[in-house]
């Protein structure tokens, strides 16, 4: 028994968070579950830039100016920094309601709607609010058991409600929401500039070295192939990324989200005008890109109440091994729910379900909430 106590693992809150996210570096990094396309993005950017720096830059730095690779390096580093920031940060996930809160809201809803007789479908749970003299409806989220704030939406891929939900981007492997929209925008902007830059200088390189001739004369075949590959990648990336940047510039200028644009929330004669727009393009841009950045409310690295982890240790004969499994499995993401299922065997808990299980363990009635943990509180 003393051996188990010595190896007791600290359980952090990210391990029990509902939703389909993957967490790395002990909760510091948060991503969606499917990361394949994100790895492809990384590979394309790193690969193309590596080829550019290795081959074209060496020639161009000597022949034209050494500033060319320097500027390319700055753009590349900025694009990578903003990409990683978009992919790894919390997009603005709204934590699910704890059981007390959910019950309170349910009672309020029943008080307004009245109890529904058996067999009848309950009315949709919508609250009306007036924002800037326009009526905006708030929808009730059945998964998270909350009334979603305006502009929030539930992402079905990550199974979370996200504030100011824009879209779920597989290329960055994460949702784009209130907290990481500016990083996303700066990423696609810097990537557009980088793509245009590399494309232009590849053309210049081909023109200067007369590689076009070289193709026919059959010399330096491998270099030619690589250059052509770069040009092709840049060409296709250009059309997609530059187009996307243009679209998002339009959205930023009007202070709209992709979600609202697709649903047509603010267009059409019978719809309300966008109440969040300041009416001024500069002001909208400033607010979206340079406005204050709210910290994450998820508190991923906060330590979960110790009573539960001790209870698990005492009741489980294979405690330490289980804990080790938990650590490795959550990193792989795919077996996140399996891990939470295993923990549920140790603690008396209701049957496995995304929404309910973790909250039941977080706050037991009759206990005062733990004072705020400063270490984990204000995350990026």
């Amino acid at each position: 028994m003393s051996v188990m106590v010595a190896r007791k693992k600290v359980v952090r809150k990210w391990e029990k968070l509902p939703g389909r996210n993957t967490f790395c570096c002990d909760g510091r990094i948060m991503m969606a579950r499917q990361k394949g396309i994100f790895y492809l993005t990384l590979f394309l950017i790193l690969g193309t830039c590596a080829l550019f720096f290795a081959f074209e830059c060496r020639y161009l730095a000597v022949q034209l100016s050494p500033a060319i690779p320097v500027f390319a390096a700055v753009l590349f580093l900025f694009a990578m920094a903003t990409l990683l920031r978009t992919s790894f940060s919390d997009p603005g996930v709204i934590p699910r309601a704890l059981p007390d809160e959910a019950a309170f809201i349910e009672m309020e809803i029943e008080a307004t709607n009245g109890t529904v007789p058996q067999g009848q479908r309950p009315p949709p749970r919508i609250k009306n609010f007036q924002i800037n003299n326009q009526i905006v409806k708030l929808k009730y989220c059945y998964t998270c058991k909350i009334f979603r704030p305006p502009r929030a939406s539930h992402c079905s891929i990550c199974d979370n409600c996200v504030e100011r939900f824009d879209h779920h981007c597989p290329w960055v492997g994460n949702c784009v929401g209130k907290r990481n929209y500016r990083y996303f925008y700066l990423f696609i902007l810097s990537l557009s500039l980088l793509t245009i830059y590399i494309f232009t200088f590849n053309i210049v390189y081909v023109a200067l070295t007369g590689l076009g001739l070289g193709l026919f004369l059959g010399c330096s075949q491998s270099l030619t192939v690589l250059t052509v590959l770069e040009v092709l990648i840049c060409f296709f990336t250009l059309w997609s990324v530059v187009g996307l940047t243009g679209f998002h510039t339009f959205l930023v200028a009007l202070n709209q989200t992709t979600n609202e644009d697709i649903k047509g929330s603010w267009t059409g004669k019978n719809r309300v005008q966008n109440p969040y727009s300041h009416g001024n393009i500069v002001k909208n841009c400033c607010e979206v890109l340079c406005g204050p950045l709210p910290p994450s409310v998820l508190d991923r690295r906060g330590i979960l109440q110790q009573e539960e982890s001790t209870a698990q240790e005492e009741s489980c004969p294979r405690g330490p091994r289980l804990c080790l499994c938990a650590q490795t499995d959550t990193l792989h993401g795919g077996v996140f729910m399996q891990v939470t299922a295993v923990f549920s065997l140790q603690v008396p808990a209701p049957p496995l379900s995304h929404a309910e299980m973790p909250e039941e363990k977080q706050l037991t009635s009759g206990e005062l909430p733990v004072p705020p943990q400063d270490a984990g509180q204000a995350e990026h």
């Binding site: 580093l77 900025f78 920094a81 903003t82 920031r85 709204i94 934590p95 309601a97 704890l98 007390d100 809160e101 019950a103 309170f104 809201i105 009672m107 309020e108 008080a111 609010f129 007036q130 924002i131 800037n132 905006v136 708030l138 909350i146 009334f147 704030p149 305006p150 502009r151 504030e163 100011r164 500016r182 990083y183 700066l186 109440p275 969040y276 400033c286 607010e287 890109l289 340079c290 406005g291 204050p292 950045l293 709210p294 910290p295 409310v297 998820l298 508190d299 009635s365 009759g366 206990e367 005062l368 909430p369 004072p371 705020p372 509180q377 204000a378 990026h380």
Partner: protein, 165 residues
């Protein structure tokens, strides 16, 4: 039992949780973080309306300060962008600074005003900025008579708010 004046520590030892009240967000000003100042009926017998409203209004003021869009927030945003956001590794954002102030204020309010009345405010940050959770405690020694008394009064006032517990 005589009416108790509770400090926070005493509260933890001698009281048990009776019910919780949730003060919801007020979205009439857009998506900024503001809470409704409407006085919950469950607190009718526990605290003066004015004190409660004062607390919520001060909190709303703090949140408005955190989310204020103006010269200093733009400067911070532009500086952060220029350093590719690496500056946040060593610097705290304005928002985080205000959140620390809020946390201190709530603790202060709990110690001075709410705990002596058997109430406890939870920082909205711990509830995802959705609600201000107010826990209502009952004295354990007088749990037999007063809890049933207060639960009946709160249920009549709050439309079954305490009944679910």
């Amino acid at each position: 039992c005589p009416p108790q004046v509770h400090s926070l520590q005493e509260l933890r030892r001698s009281a048990s949780l009776a019910t919780k009240v949730f003060v919801q967000r007020d979205y009439s000003d857009g998506t900024t973080c503001q809470f409704q100042t409407k006085f919950p009926p469950e607190l009718e017998s526990r605290i003066e309306r004015q004190l409660f409203e004062e607390t919520v209004k001060t909190l709303n003021g703090f949140y408005a300060e955190a989310e204020k869009i103006g010269g200093s927030s733009y400067l911070e945003g532009c500086l952060a962008c220029a350093t590719a956001y690496f500056i946040f590794l060593c610097m705290e954002t304005h928002y985080e600074k205000v959140l620390k102030k809020i946390s201190k204020y709530i603790q202060d309010q709990n110690e001075k005003i709410y705990a002596p009345r058997g109430l406890l405010l939870t920082d909205p940050l711990e509830r995802g900025m959705r609600v201000i959770e107010i826990s209502i405690y009952e004295d354990r020694c007088s749990s037999g008579s007063s809890s049933s008394g207060s639960s009946s009064s709160s249920s009549s006032g709050g439309g079954g708010g305490a009944g679910g517990r």
